[in-house]
């Protein structure tokens, strides 16, 4: 049990030895080491957040056929630090008539709801903060706290646009939690565990090959939860003058903005854990936990890149179309898919691997095809109704 095989336990034991040598009580030392671990994790996440700003700006530039920040430092790497300094030295105000306490707590809650998600993320078989056996429900609970923070921001700003933006955003977030829950049940069924480490360990074949439609629905619901395009009607500049964070400036706005980027990266990580095998890569994670961490970060970056790709390619969807899409198409599809996957999993349980994988894959494709056929028929009927009325 040396450092390269089990870094966290080795460091904790060494620190415990040091603290006991200083004469500290064992329980107090334990608590102090836990706090140090949390502090280290949050520090690493915030530093990563800074570089996510740089990645986001470079990627959006490339998608828009330009270069992005390249003045400050090599490849514009100093740019995010300049942004942080700018945000920090801005005036810290509270708008007149705003609810002071709620106004100031909202950005903190928003960032908190993203940071607490990293307590359950397994970076390697031995590097994880808490092996919670209800990890997937914890993911939804953290989303609930994020929803609360947006309502607080919109309401306390004393601003009509902020309130409308917040209402729309919360309506979208609460609505899209339903198909997300249904698709989160699918890795639970396939792996027999709600804990993320159990789900990663059970993916001898990645779940994206067994339930591809579930991966797709989870991605769509996750992008809606994040409030990113194409679901960002509540904070599009041309629609609502940036929605719930209108009245925020300086580092409070920085908390919302950086929190959104970190949230996107976190959901990229969750997509990788749930459907793409997490830190596993053909046995590479057995070699060293640091390789597993590298694999996990690589897959999370890939998921984040796909989310960015969707954001900078697609147009914004109107709010009533968004909600109709969720309640009339995505939720029934997610529940039908859940039933089909559970049934197919039970029927194909004992069969050889190739038959199992191809059977599950085919069942997903069938459900997707049937859903598209139903949608096509319904929309054709609606179009015929309208075309009969319009006179050209």
């Amino acid at each position: 049990m040396n450092f390269w095989n089990d870094p966290l336990k080795t460091a904790a034991d060494w620190l415990m030895g040091v603290f006991m040598g200083w004469g500290m009580n064992e329980v107090v030392a334990h608590i102090l080491i836990a706090f140090l671990g949390v502090f280290l994790l949050i520090m690493l996440l915030m530093v990563l957040d800074i570089f996510l700003v740089w990645i986001e700006r470079k990627v959006v530039a490339r998608f828009q056929d330009r270069i992005g920040p390249n003045r400050l430092g090599p490849f514009g790497l100093i740019q995010p630090f300049a942004d942080i300094v700018k945000l920090l030295i801005k005036e810290d105000f509270t708008p007149g008539g705003a609810d002071k306490v709620v106004y100031n707590i909202a950005p903190m809650l928003s960032m908190m709801s993203v940071l607490i998600l990293w307590a359950i993320v397994p970076l390697a078989p031995v590097i994880l903060s808490v092996d919670l056996n209800v990890g997937l429900l914890y993911l939804i609970a953290a989303g609930a706290i994020g929803t609360l923070s947006i309502i607080m921001a919109g309401w306390s700003s004393n601003n009509k646009f902020a309130m409308i933006g917040a209402f729309r955003q919360v309506a979208v977030m609460v609505s899209f939690e339903v198909p997300m829950l249904a698709t989160l049940l699918i890795p639970t069924i396939l792996s027999g565990s709600m804990g993320l480490n159990g789900i990663v360990q059970a993916q001898n074949t990645w779940f994206v090959f067994i339930a591809p439609l579930a991966a797709l629905i989870f991605l769509i619901a996750a992008i809606a939860e994040l409030g990113r395009a194409p679901f960002d009607l509540s904070e599009g500049e041309s629609e609502l003058v940036s929605g719930y964070n209108i009245e925020y400036a300086g580092m409070k706005f920085g908390m919302f903005y950086a929190g959104e980027l970190l949230h996107a990266f976190t959901f990229g990580g969750f997509w990788a854990i749930l459907f793409f095998g997490g830190y596993r890569f053909f046995g590479l994670e057995q070699v060293s936990p640091f390789l597993a961490v590298a694999v996990m970060v690589f897959k999370a970056m890939l998921g984040y890149w796909i989310i960015m790709w969707v954001k900078y390619t697609m147009m914004r969807i109107r709010i009533d179309h968004m909600l109709a899409f969720n309640w009339k198409f995505l939720t029934p599809l997610a529940f039908v898919l859940l039933m089909v996957v559970a049934l197919a999993n039970a029927l194909l349980a004992g069969t050889p691997a190739w038959l199992y994988i191809s059977g599950m894959f085919l069942s997903n494709v069938l459900v997707g095809w049937a859903a598209l056929e139903v949608a096509r028929t319904v929309s054709r009927r609606e179009r015929e109704k309208v075309e009969g009325v319009v006179t050209t």
């Binding site: 329980v27 609810d99 709620v102 919670l132 056996n133 209800v134 429900l137 914890y138 939804i140 609970a141 989303g143 609930a144 706290i145 929803t147 609360l148 309502i151 607080m152 309401w155 309130m163 209402f167 919360v170 609460v174 939690e177 709600m194």
Partner: protein
């Protein structure tokens, strides 16, 4: 005083303080947010009792759905969040009498229990709380019938809500 007891005391004080603020604050939105803090304190108490699933479900259902519903209802129906009238009405002494009577009744019940001085039984290793809960809710020998009836009740409420709010064109 073990660490567990200290943590429980802190959490209980926070929960009770938030509950007190819910009923005494004059601003309705602040009352909703204090309610969120109270519900979160209850979730922490569940977690202290090793009921992790219940704690997370408490956050998801109570804070993520019910508290948000309260907040929406207040925001969409009131022009001014502050209450205008006096804090108490004419019959406040009946309420106070009942509350004090209930408090003394509960305290005497808990003191007569005797279990608060014994240590809690340890949970056996390999105790799969979530699995046992799942089996209890779906096994025909356990609670599958009440579970299904509750689902039908929720479906009836959903249909009723859609019917009431349906906009006939």
């Amino acid at each position: 005083m073990t660490a567990e007891q200290i943590i429980f005391l802190i959490v209980a004080l926070v929960t009770l303080g938030s509950a007190f603020m819910v009923v005494t604050t004059r601003n309705l939105i602040h009352a909703a947010f204090w309610l969120v803090a109270t519900l979160f304190g209850v979730a922490v108490v569940y977690a202290l009792l090793n009921a992790g699933f219940l704690a997370v479900v408490q956050v998801v259902v109570y804070i993520g759905a019910i508290a948000i519903l309260f907040i929406f209802a207040v925001m969409l129906t009131r022009k001014d969040a502050r209450d205008q009238g006096p804090q108490t009405n004419k019959t406040w002494w009946i309420g106070a009498l009942l509350a004090v009577g209930a408090f003394f009744g509960l305290v005497s019940l808990v003191l007569g229990w005797g279990g608060s001085s014994k240590a809690a039984a340890g949970i056996p290793s390999g105790f799969d709380a979530v699995g046992l809960l799942g089996e209890a809710l779906t096994s025909p020998n356990a609670y599958v019938l009440p579970f299904e009836v509750a689902s039908v009740l929720l479906l009836a409420a959903l249909v009723g809500a859609v019917y009431v709010a349906f906009n006939r064109k």
